[in-house]
Symmetry: C2
Subunit: 116 residues, 2 copies
């Protein structure tokens, strides 16, 4: 048998992607419940996330795959991945090493409280 | 003075929207940390969410504003709204009355565990 080198059909068939072929991924710290960030995955990024245990995204600004923590030293160790009821959003539960945000904050939402 | 009838400029200027004028909103139960769903907001939906205290979205399938719970009887009472570091994602912390998912599940991710 060939090794599985791409996303299994039974998962791929359930995905509803943007016109760019992406699905938003909500990233949550598995134990505290903190929402860390939102990122984007295509089929390959999702497959790599599921099979390597390291959260991997598609960078829309750099147009390349992005293994979270590969340059920052703050990887996300994947605990589980869920797809929502209509197949257009992923929830990635991780153990975030260090901080999630490029600003140095724990989450990308730490400093963004909006007033009415 | 005129009452504020649209999103304040200091918030609107920080939003990075999709070509359709939308920003994804991660919706989280404020006390348990459960991620309930992902929905989409335009400036008006965000303004209504901030000023009415009821989570209000833009429905991409129905092309209309959608006050969560108005038909289902399961509203989301808004506790706080945060914008992420790069202005392209909202985090809406709510008190979800009843269930969040149209399937009757508590969250839209309850039944979506993916295997590698």
């Amino acid at each position: 048998m060939e090794p599985v080198t791409s996303l299994p059909t039974e998962i791929a068939d359930r995905l509803k992607r943007t016109p760019d072929g992406l699905v938003p991924a909500v990233v949550q710290q598995h134990d505290t419940g903190e929402v860390l960030m939102l990122a984007w995955m295509d089929d390959t990024a999702l497959h790599r996330t599921l099979t390597t245990g390291r959260a991997t995204y598609w960078s829309r600004s750099r147009n390349e795959y992005w293994v979270k923590g590969e340059t920052s030293g703050n990887p996300q160790l994947v605990k589980e991945v869920r797809l929502d009821c209509d197949g257009d959003t992923l929830l990635v539960k991780v153990d975030q090493v260090g901080v999630a945000c490029h600003t140095g904050a724990r989450t990308c939402f730490d400093h963004g409280l909006l007033d009415a």
